[in-house]
């Protein structure tokens, strides 16, 4: 019985973590899909969300103000990065790779200077647990899962039901014709980078009460996000969701039976093996 409840909690943790990873990876995938930029700084935007969120909570005492302000701030930083750094070098993939890696280092050092080297915790805005079928689970974690699902549904509706969403998908498929038809492609690029950054920061603030906040927290997530984007299939949104959930479930449930490090090794081995067999990812050829 104890094992059954442990497994249930691990599954719930896996789903929550998988949904958060999906939020981060969706942003990464949107940016790659549209701008063809491999954004090495994506994890540090997630970290910035958590760090800025911590400062906002420190100043205002409100988690919800932080949940609103920090992603907005990081979204604007994203727009500024696209306009100021990436736009002038957009035609050279290797330079964008180096530039975004440079941004990663800059953000990390800025966080180190302002936030310090230590880890800090953020109190969850919702406390307590909910119990069902003999399993009790953190109300906050459950809320994070619900919010993440709502955000993804919102993103889906935005991409498939609004004019701007149509522009983003169209520009991705045929950028030249889109611009010749009057779609303001340069605004679409900046907006997409901002949106991807905002999603990463949202994940950072939502996760802050669950993991501890520190200036290196983006590195781990960056690797995971890249892996799920590749396993899910470049450009595929549902692929990212499926890959994120699979990754987080295998790792969380695996950690019940072996050490967390071995669980991570197992997960990565499985995912690498999958990509070797199916290099295009789960939903090969899927486009946003």
């Amino acid at each position: 019985m104890a094992l059954a409840s442990d497994v249930a909690v691990a599954v719930l943790n896996g789903v929550t973590w998988g949904l958060i990873v999906a939020l981060i990876a969706l942003g990464l995938n949107l940016i790659f899909g549209l701008l063809e930029i491999v954004n090495m700084a994506h994890g540090s935007l997630y970290m910035l969300g958590a760090v800025i969120g911590w400062f906002v909570i420190d100043a205002t005492g409100s988690f919800f103000v932080a949940l609103f302000l920090a992603p907005l701030a990081v979204g604007m930083i994203g727009v500024a990065i696209e306009r100021g750094v990436l736009r002038p070098i957009e035609d050279d993939v290797s330079i964008t790779l180096i530039a975004t890696f440079g941004l990663l280092l800059i953000f990390q050092q800025l966080a180190l200077m302002s936030f310090g080297p230590g880890t800090r915790s953020v109190a969850a805005p919702i406390s307590g647990t909910v119990s069902f079928a003999g399993v009790s689970y953190s109300t906050y974690r459950l809320s994070v899962a619900v919010v993440a699902v709502a955000l993804m549904a919102g993103l889906y509706l935005f991409l498939f039901r609004t004019r701007y969403g149509t522009w983003m998908r169209g520009v991705r498929q045929n950028r030249e014709v889109a611009s010749a038809l009057g779609v303001p492609t340069s605004k679409v690029y900046a907006f997409t980078f901002g949106l991807g950054s905002l999603l990463a920061a949202l994940a950072g603030v939502l996760l802050a009460p669950i993991v501890s906040v520190h200036h290196l927290m983006g590195l781990d997530v960056l690797a995971v996000a890249f892996i799920v984007v590749i396993v899910g299939g470049l450009g595929s949104l549902r692929g990212v969701l499926v890959a994120s959930l699979t990754y987080a479930l295998v790792e969380n449930v695996g950690a019940l039976f072996v050490t967390p490090v071995r669980a991570r090794i197992l997960t990565l081995t499985l995912m690498i093996a999958f990509v070797l067999v199916r290099p295009g990812g789960i939903f090969e050829g899927d486009a946003v």
Binding site: R163, G170, G182, V183
Partner: protein, 233 residues
Amino acid sequence: MLDVDAIDTYYGKSHILHDVSFEAGSDEVVALLGRNGVGKTTTMRSIIGLTPPRTGTIRFEGEVISGKSPPEIANRGIGYVPQDRGMFPELTVEKNLEMGLGTADRDDDVVRAIFDRFPRVEDRLDQKAGTLSGGEQQMVAMARALMRDPKLVLMDEPTEGLMPSLIPEIAGITRDIAESGYSIVVVEQNVELVLDIADRVYLMDNGRIHEQATPAELRENERTLQEYLGVGL
């Protein structure tokens, strides 16, 4: 309406257009005729801003548009039917049409008129554009260019690459659009179609415009067509 004045356009170091000048007036259908590779498509791309001219000016409704970005140029009221149709293959036909609006607002009367003209496009609204036949894609490309109710339509080879059996239908639609009062610049190799719809024809060779003629003059002077296209009537 459109005034192209002495433009020179390059692809990198290749000098493609040499001192190209022509104009298209209100409600006028102007055609550029010439063999493959003489610079017709480059001329279209120069007008819409995809390959901006290095020297010379292009004016639309009296204002200089050369040097502006493609979206700025299109949003002044120019519809563009690209060569090879330029579909967004993963978008539905409906979303492809929406892309044609640019930043303009959708006008239901315009959309109604487009569907009356292209009933097959209306039938396929929910289908992905990449799954359509070549002829259907061409209709979507033309319908899309009309979505913003443009003052000027640029049509780049509307019958190119179509099955011969489809050409009369697309030609008919092109003629129909030409007769409904849009100003049109059309690049087309189908001489019969061009002579049928154009008010004036410019003959291009080697990146230059060499002659200007009316369809009637060209019909009488088959040698000119032979010279520029290698075909007779």
